[in-house]
């Protein structure tokens, strides 16, 4: 099975990476960009249940104070 885990900044935590990408794009003349947010994705393969992946997020992949995570299966 293949799972996709997406880690993003928690609401309320400033997404500095997204912001600096936004300003980088503006410098290059892309004036129509209004907002950029950044996230990290892990593709995890193995004989794993949704619960296993959930546990990985809780135990390693996400920090609950700064990050949100979402899990989806990749078919």
């Amino acid at each position: 099975m293949k799972w996709e885990v997406r880690i993003s900044y928690k609401k309320g935590v400033q997404d500095s990476e997204g912001e600096s990408t936004l300003s980088g794009l503006k410098t290059l003349g892309f004036n129509n960009v209004d907002n950029v947010s950044a996230a990290k994705v892990y593709l995890i393969e193995g004989n794993l249940t949704h619960g296993d992946v959930e546990e990985m997020c809780r135990r390693l992949l996400a920090n609950p104070v700064s990050q949100d995570y979402s899990i989806s299966e990749v078919k």
């Binding site: 935590v13 400033q14 500095s16 990476e17 600096s20 135990r59 920090n63 104070v65 990050q67």
Partner: protein
């Protein structure tokens, strides 16, 4: 018998040598220990009188800075470390070590949680900062007051906690250092005085008991005055720098 301090390293840890040197200059024995040796059961934390997690990029800081080493310590050695800490033995986390302490839950301690995330500038920052010494119960900053200057060098140093816990940390005297203006006044979140955007300008915190201390700045890089960026202005090249006292306190605390 000499007192022994364990300096933990993982692949990518890179401030262990200079940190060990500061410890040894205080008459303690420093042993740099690969975390693998702990995992293989070759040695135990209880063999030591103090513990330091030095700076660097443990495991490449992949996933999050300090996360992997933090989780290994938490899941494999949680009880041992809790014991170590409740025995009152000192634990110091510098930069990456602070990140590790936060990830493994030794800081802020109890059930509170915090995070150190990407700098607001979104890049690595190597610079000297002014720090105000807050009244705290930290055993490492005994005798320090007013403001001091130490260097930071990190990409993920933005300290975060919930508003409720922030109040709690402040009330219990767990906030040890705050980024400050040159004159000692509050940095008020302004860059570059606060180099990473930490909440409430927090640069270092300790646990409730004061024996576990984590900070983003590097005291070992300010151990001697000749490492200060303006040492050539005054003739004090041979004296100690602002980082000295932290190691000195650790030693005195251990040997007390």
């Amino acid at each position: 018998m000499a007192y022994k301090v364990c300096i933990i390293r993982a692949p990518g840890t890179n401030c262990d040598r200079e940190t060990a040197m500061c410890v040894e200059s205080q008459g303690l024995e420093a042993e740099v220990v690969h975390v693998k040796r702990l995992m293989e059961g070759e040695i135990r934390f209880s063999d030591y009188d103090g513990l330091i997690i030095p700076g660097g990029f443990s495991f490449g800081d992949h996933v999050r800075a300090g996360a992997l080493l933090g989780k290994i310590l938490k899941e494999r050695f949680g009880d041992e470390l809790a014991q170590f800490s409740s025995d009152g033995k000192p634990i110091l986390g510098i930069c990456n070590g602070f990140q590790v302490l936060v990830e493994c839950g030794l800081l802020p301690g109890n059930t509170a949680q915090s995070a150190l995330t990407t700098n607001l500038s979104s890049r690595f920052e190597c610079r000297w900062v002014d720090l105000s010494v807050e009244t705290s119960r930290c055993i490492f900053t005994d005798g320090l007051s007013g403001s001091i200057r130490l260097p930071v060098a990190h990409g993920e140093g933005r300290f975060l906690v919930t508003a409720g816990e922030l109040k709690e940390l402040t009330n219990t005297g767990q906030v040890v250092f705050k980024y400050a203006q040159k004159n000692g006044g509050s940095a008020g979140g302004s860059y570059p005085e606060n180099p990473n955007g930490s909440i409430d300008d927090i640069a270092g915190i300790c646990n409730k008991e004061g024996n576990v201390f984590g900070l983003m700045p590097h005291p070992e890089r300010a151990f001697y005055r000749f490492l200060h960026p303006r040492w050539t202005k005054s003739d004090e090249s041979e004296s100690f720098g602002d980082g000295y006292k932290i190691f000195n306190n650790m030693a005195e605390y251990i040997m007390r």
